[in-house]
Chain length 357, copies 2
DNA sequence: CGCGGCAGTCAAAGCGCTTTGGAAGTTTGG
DNA sequence: CCAAACTTCCAAAGCGCTTTGACTGCCGCG
């Protein structure tokens, strides 16, 4: 059994004061190289680590960042992109010596949890996930005066805040445009939850691309829900069995797209020939859409990279604040998605509609 | 802007001592109901929360649990089951007032991270994920004398420790047995990474079921790797294109099974008729294998429930230790997976092999 | 009336660290 | 040879909370 040693014990063992030992270990210049070396060795030998709680009480910094991941109260579902987002962010945190505090919270009482985390002073900053159209967390956190970065944006919020987002509008405009270029006219959109800000922007991009060609969006071809495989399957099946079915789908994530593919097969159609699909690809680690010719044509933007960059932004904001540079203006980053052609898109086959009937 | 108030300020405002205020808020009996009520109201009004860092320094308990999630250095992949596992555990933690500290760590330096977390005394306990066949973390943590629960087991470790596991051996024995009952003889196993303990147990169950019918396992039909969609696709495609292809697959997770289905379609075979699949289903929230007749025949065990129960076990262990009951013996729970029939299994069609050639 | 007992409150000591404000010891320069 | 200027170290004061031990009234009992 390994006994846990503290500063006092270590300093007594060395015959030095706590001050000196602390300074030696934290790299302060007031201590000679000889003592520093001796102290370092002893600390190593007894595998001494400063007690985090005491350290953060003394310094006022907890070296911890909070992520609050929403779990939908409807489906008890956790969006799988969080795994990769957190992996990216976590990498950045551990590099900088920060810990990550995770709160899994029903989306109904987000506000309470954020307020709690902030006033308990348990973290130095936090990241806001999945902002809604008008997200009340943002003004609340500004009010609480705690550093935060939003992954996404909230259209209904006036005033500046730090965010990192993908250019969803342009991504979906391009995705839809590609299908239009291929001759498709009946294009369905399988979007995320309508309350989410990103879903709104994606709708925008889709509608805009259609309008540019003089096509009005057909509400029958637009669906909103949590992005499960089953959602993709059910919606696509329903749409494909109508009298005027879509010949192409734009899908918000690879997971429902798997369901769409299932529905296409089930309808006796050929994926990528009779029906085209373009997805938004978050580049999930266990669902890599890669290969010489990836399965899905996609607008891609790595959610892991987003996590990493959000974390880096937040740490930078915290650093600045500690140096007293408070009025630097907000940090805002817009990432562009990249279009890659896969096996899921092809030109409209005029006869396809007939074949089906 | 909301100013953060501390105990001292609150007690001064009330004209009481810090002791009394602290006791009033923490429900100690030494304080009159009248004062308690007054204090509660004032705390509410100023939205006072005790500073976590100070509190945990004073009490010696950090009210935090650590999860270390491994990210494979090979594929930079995060196993998506962690999202649901953590959702389950997080529910339990927040109910008990605990926070969750998450470390995302390349699997190579797990030991360092665990030792670090333990000696920095930043958490009251931790959960070990994805144990390997002989997992060195277990003796290490016993040595460090910190409460922990293993999600899974490690066959190579002698000596008792707290764990919660699914009966993988029986689950895979049943899955394989079902396929054998349906007449299949060439049954492939798509397993997880060979280093994982659960993969070993699953191999066992599979092999045992075959042996019971006098069939020797064919190494050509067994694959081990990280459970991505692409892995399922590639392996199934390869196996299906041999001269003596399998007529059925047992697959370790729904994600590679999606890939297997893709390979089956691509080979021009019919899923569930020409080729059968039984999966192990972790009941992932975004990949629910449900419906009147679920897509996949499965041995199912909810990973979310596992998370919740692991968390409950750990909190119980911590509670006992605080009450001085150290020698209660280890807590060990074995969950049984439940078999449900879906659309992915059917009797062996003797002509199938011919059709294909 | 006096004393034990109890309810309600408080001052002060810690938890393990950082950091301030010296105090020694050592070197330099006039 | 002594003052000034470093260098190297230290004692002690906090950080914001809990908790111990003591203290003050006030009641009831002999």
């Amino acid at each position: 059994m390994i006994s846990c040693m503290n500063l006092k014990q270590l300093s007594e063992k060395l015959g030095l004061s706590q001050t000196t030992v602390s300074r030696a270990l934290n790299g302060y210049p007031e201590v000679s190289e000889a003592t520093r070396h001796k102290v370092r060795k002893a600390a190593e030998a007894h595998s001494y680590r400063p007690n985090t709680r005491a350290k953060s009480l003394a310094t006022g910094r907890s070296m911890t960042i909070a992520h609050v991941v929403p779990v939908s109260s409807k489906h008890e579902m956790v969006n799988p992109i969080f795994a990769d987002f957190i992996a990216g962010a976590g990498e950045e945190y551990s590099r900088a010596g920060y810990d990550l505090l995770l709160s899994v919270v029903a989306d109904s009482d987000h506000e309470r949890v954020y307020r709690d985390i902030a006033t308990r002073q348990v973290v130095d900053g936090l990241i806001v996930q999945a902002p809604t159209l008008t997200d009340t967390r943002i003004p609340m956190l500004q009010d609480l005066d705690i550093p935060f970065v939003v992954h996404g944006r909230s259209s209904g919020i006036i005033g500046a805040y730090n965010w990192l987002d993908v250019n969803n509008r342009r991504a979906f405009e391009r995705a839809t445009g590609l299908l239009l270029d291929l001759g498709h006219r009946r294009i369905a959109l399988l979007n995320g939850l309508a309350t989410m800000d990103f879903a709104h922007r994606r709708n925008d991009g889709y509608t805009r691309a259609l309008l540019e060609r003089g096509i009005a969006a057909d509400p029958e071809l637009i669906a909103h829900d949590e992005m499960t495989e089953n959602y993709g399957f059910e919606v696509a099946r329903r749409m494909l069995s109508t009298s005027n079915p879509p010949t192409a789908f734009v899908v918000s994530s690879i997971i429902p797209a798997i369901g769409v593919r299932r529905a296409i097969n089930k309808a006796g159609l050929v994926f990528g020939r009779d029906v085209s699909i373009v997805i938004h690809d978050d580049d999930l680690s266990y669902f890599r859409n890669t290969g010489d010719v990836p399965l899905f044509t996609a607008v891609r933007s790595s959610v892991r990279e987003a996590g990493q960059r959000c974390a880096a932004m937040l740490l930078e904001i915290i650093r600045r604040r500690e140096e007293g540079l408070r009025n630097e203006g907000p940090m805002q980053t817009l990432m562009e998605a990249e279009l890659t052609i896969g096996q899921s898109t092809g030109p409209l086959i005029p006869s396809a509609a007939k074949l089906r009937s």
